[in-house]
Symmetry: C2
Subunit: 489 residues, 2 copies
Amino acid sequence: MGGELPQETLDPEDWTQLRSLAHRAIDDGLDYLQQARQRPVWQPTPAEVAAQFHAPLPRAPQGAERAYQDFREQVMPWQMGNTHPRFWGWFMGNGTAFGAVGDFLAAIVNPNMGGGNHVGNLVENQVVDWCKQIVGLPRDSGGLLVSGASMANFVALAVARGARAGIDVRAAGVAALPRPLVFYASTEVHSCMQKAIELLGHGTQALCKLPVDAQYRFDLAALARAVGADRAAGRQPCAVIGSAGTINTGSVDDLDALADFCARERLWFHVDGAIGAVVAISPQHRHLVRGMERADSVALDLHKWLHIPFEAGCVIVRDRKAHHATFSLTPEYLAHAPRGLASGADWFSDYGLQLSRGFRALKVWLSFKEHGLDKYARLIDQNIAQAQRLGELVRAQPELELMAPVGLNIACFRYRGRGGTQQQLNARNEELLIRLHEGGVVAPSYTRLDGSYCLRAAIVNHRTRSADLELFVEQVLKTGRALEADAHA
Amino acid sequence: MGGELPQETLDPEDWTQLRSLAHRAIDDGLDYLQQARQRPVWQPTPAEVAAQFHAPLPRAPQGAERAYQDFREQVMPWQMGNTHPRFWGWFMGNGTAFGAVGDFLAAIVNPNMGGGNHVGNLVENQVVDWCKQIVGLPRDSGGLLVSGASMANFVALAVARGARAGIDVRAAGVAALPRPLVFYASTEVHSCMQKAIELLGHGTQALCKLPVDAQYRFDLAALARAVGADRAAGRQPCAVIGSAGTINTGSVDDLDALADFCARERLWFHVDGAIGAVVAISPQHRHLVRGMERADSVALDLHKWLHIPFEAGCVIVRDRKAHHATFSLTPEYLAHAPRGLASGADWFSDYGLQLSRGFRALKVWLSFKEHGLDKYARLIDQNIAQAQRLGELVRAQPELELMAPVGLNIACFRYRGRGGTQQQLNARNEELLIRLHEGGVVAPSYTRLDGSYCLRAAIVNHRTRSADLELFVEQVLKTGRALEADAHA
């Protein structure tokens, strides 16, 4: 019936040519990582390069070869810099070469990890089981790989509200709650928690932020008072969010004490372990996150301190049924068959927001096997020791001021020089940071602590050597002195 | 000060060895795609392979070489099959070889696309601008690459409720709404919309599902009645969701008429274009989605009909300020600097849930340049013609029954054979589908239409040739006849 229909394909006309291009990409990519130390950490994208990115939708083909050349010339050189040994901004991993190969292979086999019966499920289930082992939650917990901790925290809080609402909140909505739910965290909690609570429809006000002590840790007495006051006022305390590593200073809440409190008060205990959950793999430092294993849910990131390429986060929920009940939805076109491709008891799409899901599990699976967790643990210890060393180097310089205790792998400090008002010091350190970035030698980031602008170095870096920290301090002193001289000139 | 600290790294001790392994991965990966047609579409993972995935967290390293061997032996052969020319299940793309190279390169440079000043922003902004051109929304719209349409729809509905709530719903929450919001869609709307509305805290009930006509399109008279009734009952109509391609049958709502209605009623008009938004690039078929360009927001998927490897979805929101106002949150550690790495006016993290974001833009940017959109348009036309051909082949066989008009590239039919009760036919076709999967020659999926179980083929495949469709029909007839013979034996 009918004639032949047109038969074009996106496969290359000439596989040999594309193969040779792909091999070049491998060599260029590995060169890029091998030579990381030889490049500036960061440099601005030149205006003439930036101008290239305004061309309209390409209707005509330019071919893989020319597209790749555009990448080499316009994209590869002007990167963020977090592959570099002296990048310490925000809290990002470096990635690894074999991790990148993992992403290539995942895109080649290209399964949809939302559902169906295929081996990807076994890979992801194994990786999620490994994450349960890392955080110390039982094997029969629910779990899911997600884009990162923002989503992991969102999923956990969605489960918490569903499990503790006392009504069918999926069906009836937040407005049907007899009493408004309250979520508790310290002022140091990550902003993604506020975003999650707002998106879930509870309003910013539903996140009760409580003070911290001098170590930037959750004040438990304040928590007890707040929960009591909310109950008295007719609100319904729902969950307490502890931080295993805060974003500003790397402080870790007393998770054991929070777990005790939650058990006593029958509250959901969630741990945001985006930064520090993986510290649990280190025999030397795991005591810092003790109590995490008692949580009802834990969010963790694998693209941070374990250096899996972006994106790789994970959420673990102790009550697997509650996890499933929050997200499961099986219309007819997704019904599970008893055998064949559409079989499988548990589909990952029933545990999160995404239906189509990429094979992010593969790079984790390959990387964990490649290095083994003992090595990751030593690298965590190494970064913690480096942050302590940086703290010592700062304390040894009278022109510098350590602004908070060094928590985990994060040091916050500023250039004081010959001193000045708070406003002067803030302005000077803001400009100092920009000059450091523009100098291309070191790339810390920044925060404000009690109104003081600080340089902030999060040493999440498997390429940093201790000599890099000495160079960092030198650069800060040199740049700070020059700024001060300018100001007084 | 102090001695040398330990200095391990995740970089390979021997770059040459890893390089050679990566080159092997390239060859194996490209072979895998080049030989797609020679493999079974799907086969179950053997029990002895599945048993390998229960080993505990690897503490010791096994090295990249052995990890890769595990992938080759345990993972690569037992895939979902959506790279195969005869995979037509659900609605998934195949991916491409160069797209996979794009994911490798993205993981090598490994930027965090949440924020900061680096070239990745220019790449993503260009890709998002291209998506605006595809769907016909203005250049100054807001937009974001996301994991897929589930997230794109979630983002769009979150903006819609914020923009139309009449109160500051972020701050005050859903419970503070003076009147409950209502979202309208047809019964054919994708399940992710219900999930989004539930997660946003409005309750399942806030999604009003209205009947469809014989072409499975939104019944506009029913919509008008429902909006009127809700207003009269003190509820607040918020948004209407049109489908540019429904998941069951590929029907497209009358988007122009929906746009008229929304303009008249001052409702937010959202288009779920996960399946069909990209039809707008085809001069031959773009009339089908006319009216989409009048939407307030559009969700589309690039990992479906444009064959970008998972994950790549996109949301476009006409009112950029409303988009920003829904998600923007800038704590001190994310403050934007005037110059340097931390500069940049617009950070993508202010337009969605994620803070850490991978460089998914790169594979899209490379692929669009490689092929040009005219070629993607021809491939869309080709798949639509193939679906029509499949419909003709089905109609030509008295033993087969076409169960719905062929919408876009989706055909739903069943094996009737010598007939039977609805229950018998359902059971027979369910078993038939499983046998097709187990046979490994073709992989459609399934749905139920008005209680009838159907085989469902979504031809989203740049490798399908028209002869594959003839083979499909042959396989269905052969398998159906065998089942019928068994039943009567």
